[in-house]
Symmetry: C2
Subunit: 399 residues, 2 copies
């Protein structure tokens, strides 16, 4: 019988969301009249913006005519989209990124999952705790050593620098699940550290569109030296409601180098290009056209409206959770609010209590890592009406 | 500086198609009046069928309304498509595959590239020569040992069983690049061998829609015992012109098992499900709806017309190449014709001669592996007019 990748046996069972769903299902069976509001939802609820819908229609027509039909496209994405990304997401913020430093894909999750292919299996990965489970699981699958960086009340959810050697550093800001951000000065500490020790930062900025405050960097490349030490992952999922469309991109500057076992300097941009041309065939043409449309004037207005809608929900969450006397972080430059459980209650105990008393479902923080124990996550992605109703119920919570 | 995956340094430079393009470009510069016909083309030329275009329009509208908007879908694909695949591609041929044995993705290339994740890096891969370069390159990237199985004039392009132990066996039938097929009896030899030695066959049937003859299996699961030893990769690229749309699927039967280092039996379906849920977020919803549409009565008629169009081109190729006095294989159940170069000419020499004399571009066989030396590949994917014109020119070839 064929030998399998043994590392899969070391993966923790991934039951967080299925367990949340199971508990809601049981509660609903026992309380058929209860109206459960899911503030655990990680998916968006607003439809695709009209500009993207129109572009999808045009692309459908393109595909139906021999003259405009597009078959295999460039594996790294079409220039029409890469150029818009460089112009709107980088040049507009004073950052010089060239289209051949941009790799368009079917989503940030794929890229974050596959990026490990280009690094040595001997590398050590530094990962914050609590965290989006994909960083952990994909490194376990490769058999990499993982160093966890605790984010706690004591450090204000801002991880300290690693105390042992690391090669890859996963940072996600604005953060999922804690909703915290790093200032320019705080992020520069990481860039300086990575350059000093020769590490590469894998910077997940899937939630950058929710940033409203001045001093919070939208891109790690706002720290100029980051081009020598950082890969940035971006997504259209939350920016433009592309969770079901599937499109994102990864930036790997030409200045970013690694070293092979012979001591030769190697371009990480070149390695990823080779990886993508070999194992990927480009993102869907109609989907890239829809993504391009969000960079039109009407597209920009429409996605701003959606982001503002979710930010308004986040403000309602902050107000409601605060009024209920609970401690929390996040919800300002992020769609997530990270709520401290009342004294003595574990993540799951507070989940149960909230569901029983208010019929509101949250996500237990311990599902994101050991340091998430004692917290729950609420999201701003439900409808305004549901968000308001949930906060009204929570205001009557008795602890 | 970070250590990179050293195996990337062992990849052969992938310059086949860029070298073909470079030579055509130079020829065109030196002969500006020449009309070059690309019979090297691997992409389809016919537009997406109307049924798929209409479905794409409907899905665009779905995405534009909150009531019908679809966000994150199942990582393994929507049941509406998996059920159609089971019904039309398997049950209709008497094969029982359940929807949870089907994994829908953004294309067969991604799945063929990523499938190695679930197997031990110690596994040895058996790969035919000549071959689609993705099988070779993805195994080199993982550092796997590769055993090549020569396909030559002597064995009629049908590889012999490996003479040393192997764990993974890549088979592609109808074959790219040789256009050859295996009969049911020939394929059963491989299934029996894999079961005997405990190997897994990775069966790429991306070209199954071109099969017209009775005794050629469309699926490896037409050999019943294959469920215990084979993974099948399918693509909508050539079947329905999805090269730019991006959709394919992989079948991993529940009966297929591997073993971990503790000697525990492990379900390969379960491992791939864990890989996909961790590193992939599902194929695009509108694209899955377009794929679903090809299983409607009108969709079936329309994709049959396209396949027949290309098969008609293939027949013209066979007729023309034969009339020119050249030896060849393929072009009956496949869109590829594998042409023996005239006595004494290498693949590239014949490429140059054909381009100079007839202004027809082909693909040098040596680009697909050492055993491809002395052959060139012609494809049936150009238009009927271009195919007829190319054969007319080749009929006047002087050797």
């Amino acid at each position: 019988m064929i030998k399998v990748n043994d590392n899969f046996g070391r993966l923790a069972p991934n039951y967080l969301f299925s367990e949340v769903a199971r508990k809601i299902r049981i509660f609903q069976q026992e309380n058929p009249e209860a109206h459960v509001i899911k503030m655990s939802i990680g998916d968006v609820t607003r439809p695709l913006c009209p500009a993207a819908v129109e572009a999808l229609h045009r692309a459908a027509d393109d595909q139906g005519l021999a003259e405009t039909f597009r078959g295999y496209g460039p594996e790294q994405g079409y220039p029409f989209l890469a150029e818009k990304i460089c112009q709107f997401d980088y040049a507009a913020r004073g950052i010089d990124i060239s289209p051949d430093e941009v790799f368009i894909s079917d989503g940030a999750k794929s890229d974050l999952g596959n990026i490990g292919d280009i690094f040595s299996a001997d590398c050590t990965a530094a990962i914050t705790d609590p965290v989006y489970p994909v960083y952990v699981d994909t490194n376990v699958m490769t058999g990499r050593k993982i160093v966890f960086l605790p984010c706690t009340e004591a450090n204000g959810m801002v991880p300290g620098l690693p105390t042992e050697p690391v090669d890859l550093i996963y940072l996600c800001y604005p953060n999922n699940p804690t909703g915290t951000t790093l200032t320019r000065a705080q992020l520069k500490v990481w860039v300086d550290y990575a350059r000093k020790v020769g590490a590469v930062i894998l910077f997940d900025s899937a939630y950058e569109c929710f940033i409203t405050e001045e001093d919070i960097p939208h891109s790690i490349y706002e720290i100029e030296e980051a081009k020598e030490c950082a890969i940035e992952f971006r997504s259209f999922s939350k920016t433009a409601g592309f969770t079901g469309m599937r499109c994102g991109y990864t930036v790997i500057p030409h200045a970013l180098k690694g070293v092979d076992s012979m001591g030769n300097e190697v371009s990480l941009n070149g390695l990823w290009r080779r990886r993508q041309t070999t194992k990927f065939n480009g993102a869907s043409y109609p989907i890239q056209r829809a993504a391009e449309a969000i960079y039109t004037p009407s597209g920009q207005t429409q996605i701003r409206e959606s982001v503002d809608y979710y930010l308004h929900n986040a403000a309602i969450l902050r107000q409601g959770i605060g009024a209920a006397g609970l401690n929390f972080r996040g919800g300002i430059n992020a769609p997530y609010v990270w709520v401290k459980t009342p004294e003595g209650l574990s993540s799951w105990e507070f989940f149960d209590l909230l569901l029983a008393q208010t019929h509101v479902a949250c996500t237990p923080g311990v599902g994101f890592g050991l340091c998430g124990e004692g917290y729950v996550r609420l999201t701003a992605f439900n409808t305004l009406a549901a968000t308001e109703m949930a906060m009204d119920r929570i205001s009557k919570l008795t602890l």
